[in-house]
Every structure is written in structure tokens, then in C-alpha cells.
């Protein structure tokens, strides 16, 4: 152990493990980020000190360009755009892994085990790159967010993947002709695009977590190709993390991985919605809502993606403050798949300066709905649909939901009676105890805040 870079790598590996460990609680989480940055610094400096690296100029210029693009990206993106930014970040990381694999391949075509690692690194890198770009496009609404499906789609996707894999196996078994690697690259890129096309907005949390996992796996495969254990450790941690998050997301939707990727959820069930939409609903004004809230003791707020779209979190904070001052207890119930990525709602509420001891997970708060005077639903739909409990015909049957229908009064802030992107009608809206508050979430909450002092 006489090489400085080896020591730097070991320090980097330790820091990275510590970084994730510290992230487990909000009290130590920022220390986790520090440790991660420290580890990354050691990894980069250690690598630059390696004898193999002789040419610095372009590397330093590249690092500078990367930092000059990355920093404004992180500072200028609004908090509601965190899912997009994460998808974009995945794309860049995966692209880097794929390009390194490509360069290694052309440098000196490897064989056997190293080639296997290289094939895995490249296929995962390229498909994660285009898939993440597509996910970014859907989240940013540049690409249509509705699932795009066609007949035989799964067949096409699977055939394409099998073709790419068999080209990969060919390159591992024997030196293949020169057209094989570029074709393999092209197929991987194309597969990434096709993978995301049939996925709807509501499935994004799972998909982003899955892409996170792929990016980590590509990094670990690169570690095998280069015999670099630091890459294996960091990649494995990331792959494990993305995998666990996607399992949690799948469980929270009562669906399997395969179903998320190949199920093309969210096609409108015309029959059911046409039948339901003729039923009457009780709508109410901001004044009605304010007077009921003034008399309540316990309110549970259920935020969803609609809150993010309307940027209503800051007004919600004002409402919370006004109610708390009057002695009303206000808490927040967060469904695991609310929003577009795991933990999305927590970040937005934290942005609005709502303390995290008021945010509660589904299992913890569900028993409390029965004692709540008001459940206020803002921009959430499927995660509060009671059909998930009893309607075996519903596509969301079996999905764990927040039991808002048990609350004494339910208020739903919603733009109109149009069903959400999933196209599933929600029987919650037709209950006698439900008041529909039609309007933009942000301005409606603002109006309630204005009306409140009069009651």
C-alpha cells in the first residue's frame, strides 16, 4: 500500500458508506451530504494522481464545464421540478458510464469476464440515458404524459431487448464483426425510449427509482470492467437504494415490477366514468370551507401532485398557521406514491417551511382519520379512492390508500370533475360528507385564509 491513490480510494469508499448512513435521519442528513462530497473529492483527486493519468488539461476543462452546467441547474430549478432534475441527472450519469464502456471497448476489445461487465455497463448505460431523457421530457411535459400504447408493444420491446442481449452475448463469446457494437449501442438507446413511452405520470415514482437503480448497476459493472472496487461499492449502494425505493413504490401501488413496466396503466375506462359522472356532488365555497374549518379541532391535509402543479404549498402553510393559531391541530398525511418521485410531497412541504414532525406516513396516520373533523384533499386522487378497498373491477383495487373517507367531513380541492390522468373516477367525490371545492388549489386556499378571520 505505497500508492497515494489507493489510500484516497479507501477514504472515499468509507465516506460514501458514511454518507448514506447519516442520511437516514434529518438531524444528521446534511452531514451525509458533506461526507458524500468529501468522498467524491478524494475519488477524483486520487484518480488524477494515478500514474496512468498523464494528460490533465482537457480533463480539468471538462470538469470545469460540467460544474458550470451542474451548479446553475441545481440552484435555478424550482423545488417542484426536483423529479425532472433527478431524471436529467440520471441521464448524465448513465451517459458517462456508457461512454466509458464504449471507449474501453474500442481501446482494446476485451474478452471473457471483462467483456461481460463491459456489455452490461454499456447496455444499462445507454438505455438508462435515453429512458431518463424520456422521463425528463414527460415530467417537464415536453413529451405527452399520457401512456402511449399500441398493439404488440410488449412483443416489440421484448424482441428488441432479446436482440440486443444476443448481440452482447455474441461479443462476449467471440470477437464479433465491427457492425455489432454500434448496432448493440443503437438498440440499447432505442430500448430506453420504448421503455418509457407506455408509462403514465402516476407510475413515474417507480420508474425514476428503477432508473436510479440501473444507473448504479451500470457504475458497478464499470467497476468490474476496470477492476476498480471503489466503483463497485458506490454502484452497488446506488443500485440497492434505487431497487428498495422502487419496491416500496410498487408495494404502495399494489403492483408488480412487470406490471409497472409493461402494464400501461391509466387507459380511461369509458363505461364506468360516463356512468358515475351523472351523479350529483356537493360543492361549497371558500366561505363555507372556512366556517367549517373554524369550528374544527383536528384537520388532516392530504397533498398530491396537484398541489405541486398549482404551487399551493406556500398558501397551505399560511392556512396551517392561521388554523394553528386558533387552536386547530393540523397534520399532513403523505402517501408513498403521492407526487412524481418518492418523498416528493415532503420536500415541497419542507420548502413551505412546514416542520417535518407534522408530516405523517400512511400507516401511522390512517387510524387517526376516524377522529379527524376534516380531511382536506389537495390535488390527490387515486391515493384516496375508496374503490381500491372494495371494487375488484377497479384498476387500483388492492392499492393501500389513505382512509380520508372515514373523516367526519371530507373537503376536496379540485379543478373540475374531470378524472385525473389515470382516468379513474373517484367515489369519494359523491359521498354525502364530501364537499367539493372547485378551483385552482393555490387561489382557493388563499381565499379560505382570507375568509377565516370572519368566523
Amino acid at each position: 500500500m505505497e500508492q497515494i491513490w489507493q489510500i484516497a480510494y479507501i477514504v472515499a469508499a468509507l465516506s460514501i458508506v458514511g454518507s448514506i448512513k447519516w442520511l437516514s435521519s434529518p438531524a444528521t442528513a446534511r452531514r451525509g451530504v458533506m461526507a458524500g462530497q468529501f468522498g467524491m473529492l478524494f475519488a477524483v483527486v486520487g484518480t488524477l494522481l494515478r500514474a496512468e493519468v498523464v494528460d490533465y488539461e482537457w480533463i480539468l476543462i471538462s470538469i470545469f464545464i460540467g460544474a458550470a452546467i451542474g451548479a446553475p441547474l441545481a440552484y435555478l430549478m424550482p423545488m417542484t421540478a426536483v423529479p425532472q432534475l433527478t431524471a436529467l441527472s440520471h441521464a448524465f450519469g448513465a451517459l458517462a458510464a456508457a461512454l466509458v464502456g464504449t471507449a474501453e471497448y474500442y481501446k482494446n476489445i476485451p474478452t471473457g469476464f471483462t467483456m461481460t461487465a463491459l456489455v452490461i455497463e454499456t447496455v444499462l448505460g445507454y438505455l438508462t440515458f435515453t429512458a431518463s431523457i424520456m422521463a425528463f421530457g414527460k415530467l417537464q411535459e415536453i413529451v405527452p404524459t399520457r401512456p402511449i400504447t399500441y398493439k404488440g408493444q410488449n412483443f416489440v420491446n421484448i424482441a428488441l431487448l432479446l436482440f440486443a442481449v444476443s448481440l452482447g452475448v455474441w461479443m462476449i463469446v467471440e470477437p464479433a464483426p465491427s457492425w455489432v457494437f454500434p448496432t448493440f449501442t443503437g438498440l440499447s438507446l432505442l430500448f430506453g425510449v420504448l421503455l418509457i413511452i407506455p408509462i403514465g405520470g402516476g407510475d413515474m415514482p417507480t420508474v425514476i427509482a428503477l432508473l436510479n437503480s440501473y444507473a448504479g448497476a451500470a457504475c458497478a459493472a464499470m467497476g468490474f470492467a476496470l477492476s476498480n472496487r471503489l466503483l463497485i461499492i458506490a454502484g452497488a449502494l446506488n443500485a440497492a437504494s434505487g431497487f428498495i425505493l422502487s419496491v416500496i413504490m410498487c408495494k404502495a401501488m399494489n403492483r408488480s415490477f412487470l406490471n409497472v413496466l409493461f402494464g400501461a396503466f391509466g387507459q380511461v375506462q369509458e363505461g364506468a366514468s360516463a356512468q358515475m359522472s351523472t351523479k350529483p356532488v356537493h360543492s361549497a365555497t371558500a366561505e363555507d370551507a372556512a366556517s367549517i374549518m373554524a369550528g374544527a379541532r383536528k384537520i388532516i391535509v392530504v397533498p398530491g401532485y396537484g398541489m405541486a402543479v398549482a404551487q399551493a404549498q406556500h398558501k397551505l402553510r399560511e392556512l396551517t398557521d392561521a388554523l394553528t393559531k386558533r387552536g386547530v391541530e393540523v397534520r399532513f398525511a403523505i402517501h408513498p406514491v403521492a407526487g412524481r418521485m418518492p418523498g416528493h410531497m415532503n420536500v415541497l412541504l419542507a420548502e413551505a417551511d412546514i416542520p417535518y414532525d407534522k408530516m405523517h406516513e400512511m400507516e401511522d396516520i390512517n387510524p387517526d382519520f376516524a377522529e379527524a373533523d376534516i380531511a382536506l384533499v389537495i390535488g390527490a386522487n387515486d391515493v384516496v379512492n375508496p374503490a381500491a378497498r372494495h371494487d375488484t373491477a377497479s384498476p387500483i383495487f388492492g392499492m393501500p390508500i389513505l382512509d380520508v373517507d372515514k373523516a367526519h367531513t371530507v373537503m376536496v380541492i379540485k379543478r373540475s370533475m374531470n378524472p385525473g390522468f389515470a382516468g379513474i373516477d373517484n367515489e369519494l367525490y359523491y359521498m354525502d360528507r364530501t364537499l367539493m371545492l372547485f378551483g385552482d388549489a393555490k387561489s382557493f386556499v388563499a381565499e379560505i385564509v382570507k375568509e377565516l378571520p370572519a368566523h
Binding site: 454518507s19 448524465f92 450519469g93 476498480n228 452497488a236 417535518y356
Partner: protein, 96 residues
């Protein structure tokens, strides 16, 4: 199997369960920061990119691919860590 590969496989065998254990303990409150932090960490592929771009006698192709990879992974590192910290700064426990 070469000792190099053997060692790498042992590292993988230990790192995966460690990762699963560590991540399972992270509160759902912090799942978004967790994802952006691990995302930044996976950009450690910058190490491979530097080795490719700066190697002695690297071909033009390797240099170009390596440098683009360095740019891409640096974007990932910088934006990943900064956004994670920006998010974590906002989390606080009690009302002032």
C-alpha cells in the same frame, strides 16, 4: 477465475446487502434527498472517465469519449450534491 475478479465479486457480495440495510433505515421523509444523493454518488463513474480521457497514448476517440463522459458525470455530481443539500436545508423539526 483471476484473483482480481474474485476480489471484486467479494466486494459486490458485501456491498449489496450493506446498501440494502443502510437504505432500509432511511425515513420515507427523506426519500427524495436519498435518491438525489445516491444519484450524485453513482456519478463516481467520473473515475472511469478520467482514466479513459487522460491515459497515456489514448486515441482521439478515447479522449473525446472520455472528456464528454467527464463533463456528463461532473454535471451529475455537482447538481446532485447541491440539490440534495438545498432540499435538506429546508427540513426542520419544530415551529420557531
Amino acid at each position: 477465475m483471476s484473483p482480481e475478479i474474485e476480489m471484486s465479486l467479494y466486494v459486490l457480495i458485501l456491498a449489496v446487502p450493506l446498501g440494502l440495510q443502510l437504505v432500509q433505515r432511511v425515513s420515507p421523509l427523506l426519500h427524495t434527498p436519498l435518491m438525489s444523493l445516491t444519484n450524485a454518488i453513482s456519478a463516481i463513474s467520473v473515475v472511469g472517465a478520467i482514466l479513459v480521457a487522460g491515459a497515456a497514448g489514448a486515441s482521439k476517440l478515447s479522449q473525446v469519449l472520455g472528456c464528454v463522459a467527464v463533463v456528463a458525470s461532473t454535471i451529475n455530481i455537482v447538481s446532485g450534491f447541491l440539490i440534495t443539500d438545498r432540499m435538506l436545508k429546508m427540513f426542520r423539526k419544530k415551529d420557531k
